[in-house]
């Protein structure tokens, strides 16, 4: 038990289309982990007192507008906690705006659970044809570098030969991911409706364990509990976006001045830092050494800090640093780029206009940018490139960007927090695009 105390919160998204049983699965996880309280349950208990008759999907329909239309309009967040871990579910609706919702949910998720509805497949055949949305959800999760991807083969209670179905669908999934070069964590047989293999490898009311002969792995919740959720970056070079600059009150004896009077707060985007490290300011090029590291403003001092931690740095010299600047290990290249290639997921209703200026936010810095060319369109069912003239809502392209000022980007695949940016429409202020630098 004590080893589990170090586990971080796991944020995972659930992807699936209407009728795949996604809302039922979420309702089931909340119900079985006792996150649903009695008054909330009474709202969905209109049929029988039998557990299976709860309309589990109703638990996740948040807004009146959605209940009236019987749809889910946006990403919703749900919480449950087990004795071992805290979980956050990002519930991304699959039927419309799927790219926008999937990209949003995937950008900050540690894992993706992709639901596969076995009743929609030719599971009796040895070669099963996967649905387009299964490919799409998997490839989007892969593109956004969600660290763990799990398939949950659902509704196995509803067909007459679950063992055969599991094997055939599993083979099809494995063939697909190997062709697409995607690494996945688990393929798990479940029934969200009956609550089978969700929290434990349990037996149904006839004493049967789902796919007992052909599956010996963990339940869905056991698999999720075991997943890593560390903020990692492939680069070792320290990258720190300055979020907030605070002037320290000068002590009467002048003691605070010996370390400089300003403290630079931010969250470490890549690499580690320790006292004495040499840093360079991007974009001024000024250099200084780290003299103090604070965990928080109540003056808790640290000797070193790592990726993902928010800290305050005091430098040994008074140099010009503002919000939006980056402090970068002096051993790294800090020149920055004025042109960049990127994958761009377009989220706005209005299509991208090549040559038009947009706001770009990278770290804590806002600059103007223009897309100078759309190189390709990315087919989200295959990730293959296709020639493209424009980029519409919910489509993804490879583009060339011209930047107003040089910014220190790293490839998204190496360090998410240094390789990601958002595009914002300068007229409407809507978030128009998600940028993944190459």
């Amino acid at each position: 038990m004590s080893s589990l105390q170090n586990k971080h919160t796991l944020k995972f998204l659930t992807a699936g289309s209407v009728d795949d049983g996604k809302s039922t699965l979420i309702g089931r996880l909340l119900l079985d982990s006792k996150a649903i309280l009695a008054d909330q349950l009474s709202g969905i208990q209109h049929k029988l007192a039998d557990d299976e008759s709860y309309d589990l999907a109703k638990l996740t329909d948040g807004l009146q507008a959605e209940r009236e239309q019987g749809i889910t309009i946006d990403v919703a967040y749900r919480y449950f906690t087990t004795p071992e871990r805290k979980f956050i579910i990002a519930d991304a609706p699959g039927h419309e705006q799927y790219t926008r919702n999937m990209v949003t949910a995937a950008s900050s998720s540690d894992a993706a659970v992709i639901l596969v509805d076995v009743t929609k497949l030719n599971w009796e055949d040895e070669v099963v044809d996967l649905l387009p949305q299964t490919r799409r959800h998997t490839l989007l999760a892969h593109l956004l570098k969600v660290p763990s991807i799990l398939f949950a083969i659902n509704k196995l209670d509803a067909i007459k030969d679950p063992d055969t179905a599991f094997i055939n669908v599993k083979n099809a999934l494995e063939k697909f991911i190997s062709q697409a070069n995607v690494t996945i964590t688990n393929i798990i047989p479940i029934s969200a409706l009956k609550g089978l293999n969700i929290t434990t490898r349990n037996a149904d009311k006839h004493g049967n364990i789902l796919c007992e002969k052909v599956y010996q792995g963990p339940s869905l919740l056991e698999a999720l509990t075991a997943l890593p959720s560390h903020v990692t970056s492939n680069t070792q070079e320290f990258h720190f976006p300055v979020q907030f600059v605070q002037k320290l009150e000068e002590a009467h004896d002048g003691s605070s001045t010996q370390h400089g009077r300003r403290i630079f707060w931010g969250r470490i985007a890549a690499g580690n830092v320790k006292i004495g490290d040499h840093l360079t300011v991007q974009s001024s090029g000024a250099k200084a050494k780290v003299s103090k590291i604070f965990a928080n403003a109540l003056q808790e001092e640290l000797q070193e800090a790592a990726t993902g931690q928010s800290v305050g740095l005091i430098l040994d010299q008074e140099i010009d640093v503002s919000r939006g600047d980056w402090l970068i290990a002096s051993t790294a290249s800090v020149a920055g780029q004025k042109e960049a290639k990127a994958t761009l997921a377009w989220l706005d209703d209005e299509p991208l206009v090549v040559g038009r200026a947009y706001w770009l936010k990278h770290g804590h810095r806002w600059i103007k940018t223009k897309v100078s060319a759309i190189e390709h369109h990315l087919n989200i069912h295959t990730l293959e490139t296709e020639p493209a003239e424009n980029l519409d809502k919910n489509s993804i392209g490879e583009v060339s960007l011209v930047l107003q000022q040089p910014i220190p980007v790293l490839p998204y695949n190496d360090a998410k927090d240094v390789g990601a940016a958002i595009l914002v429409d300068t007229a409407t202020n809507r978030t128009a695009g998600a940028v993944l630098f190459k």
């Binding site: 586990k7 807004l63 087990t82 979020q243 989220l347 770290g363």
Partner: protein
């Protein structure tokens, strides 16, 4: 529901880090932010997070409270004392002043003033030209909140538009606004009631005494225990009883009810919360029971 263990693992350091990051983003992004501080437990957690983000006496924003005039006196006294202790500037604006101006009209004198806070809040935003308000709302409280962004954009009428929310990607928040628009920002969105109590216990955060078990005169009504106050008088045929109770929320007196409990400190409440079977708003808020969609409606009108 005894299967809930009081030792549920809750990674408070993750939650704390995220909340502090959001507060600093607000301080760095906006010209005139404020932190909504009612003296309630969630806003007391927010105050501690602000201390860790910026240090005592160094908040880059004032505290703002919208007073319905029906707040518990203990909470008002506590609010003023805490603001002084952390050396923060406190601004109080009252629904009664809006009533005098005629911008709030009640349908009857004892009507709950809770929904009318929206009017006074919007008037305060106009008066001080606040461009961002930090609030202690959590997504686990209510269905409409579960769909709201951490940085929630409000138009020039203070309205929330659920269908036009900006996607939130990574931790890169789109904070751009037009003149007269503002943001409501919720740094503890991802906390649950249980997390809040664990944090209060861990950090020894001071709270108004109402949160802990005490003897109080109450009227059992519609499954709730209504506290006997000037604004919630006894109705015909009802009996006053003295019970040992505590409040789970301390909002407007006309719509906030205590629950029976012996929990005398934060650690007792952590144990009790782990075993609880009724949600926070279900047990204590008369206004949220009125309609399943009442929070969504209030948010559309400019509520927190």
């Amino acid at each position: 529901m005894t299967s809930h263990s009081p030792n549920l693992y809750t990674p408070l350091s993750d939650l704390e880090e995220e909340s502090i990051f959001i507060m600093r983003e607000v301080a760095g992004s906006f010209e005139r932010p404020a932190l909504l501080f009612s003296g309630g437990k969630d806003s007391c957690v927010m105050l501690r997070l602000a201390e860790k983000a910026f240090g005592q006496g160094q908040f880059p924003f004032p505290l703002l409270m919208i007073d319905t005039g029906h707040n518990f006196p203990e909470v008002i006294e506590f609010r003023d004392r805490r603001a002084k202790e952390v050396k923060a500037k406190l601004i109080v604006r009252s629904v009664e002043d809006s009533m005098k101006r005629g911008t709030v009209r009640l349908s009857h004198p004892l009507e709950s003033r809770n929904p009318h806070q929206s009017v006074t809040l919007l008037e305060s935003i106009e008066e001080f030209r606040f461009d961002a308000l930090l609030g202690g709302a959590r997504r686990d409280e209510e269905k409409a909140r579960a769909k709201e962004r951490i940085f929630s954009h409000r138009d020039s009428f203070g309205q929330w538009q659920p269908k036009a929310q900006r996607p939130e990607l990574w931790n890169i928040f789109n904070t751009r606004i037009l003149p007269d628009e503002n943001f409501r920002v919720f740094p503890i969105s991802n906390w649950t009631e249980f997390d809040v109590w664990k944090y209060i216990e861990q950090e020894e955060i001071p709270l108004p005494n109402l949160y802990y078990a005490h003897q109080r005169q109450v009227i059992p009504r519609k499954g709730l225990l209504v506290p006997v106050t000037d604004v919630t008088p006894v109705q015909e045929g009802e009996n006053i009883e003295t019970r040992t109770v505590r409040f789970r929320t301390v909002g407007d007196m006309t719509c906030t009810c205590p629950i029976e409990s012996d929990a005398a400190n934060a650690s007792d409440i952590v144990k009790e919360t782990a075993a609880v079977t009724i949600s926070e708003r279900g047990a204590t808020r008369m206004d949220d029971q009125t309609s399943e969609a009442s929070m969504e409606k209030r948010k559309l009108e400019g509520y927190f």
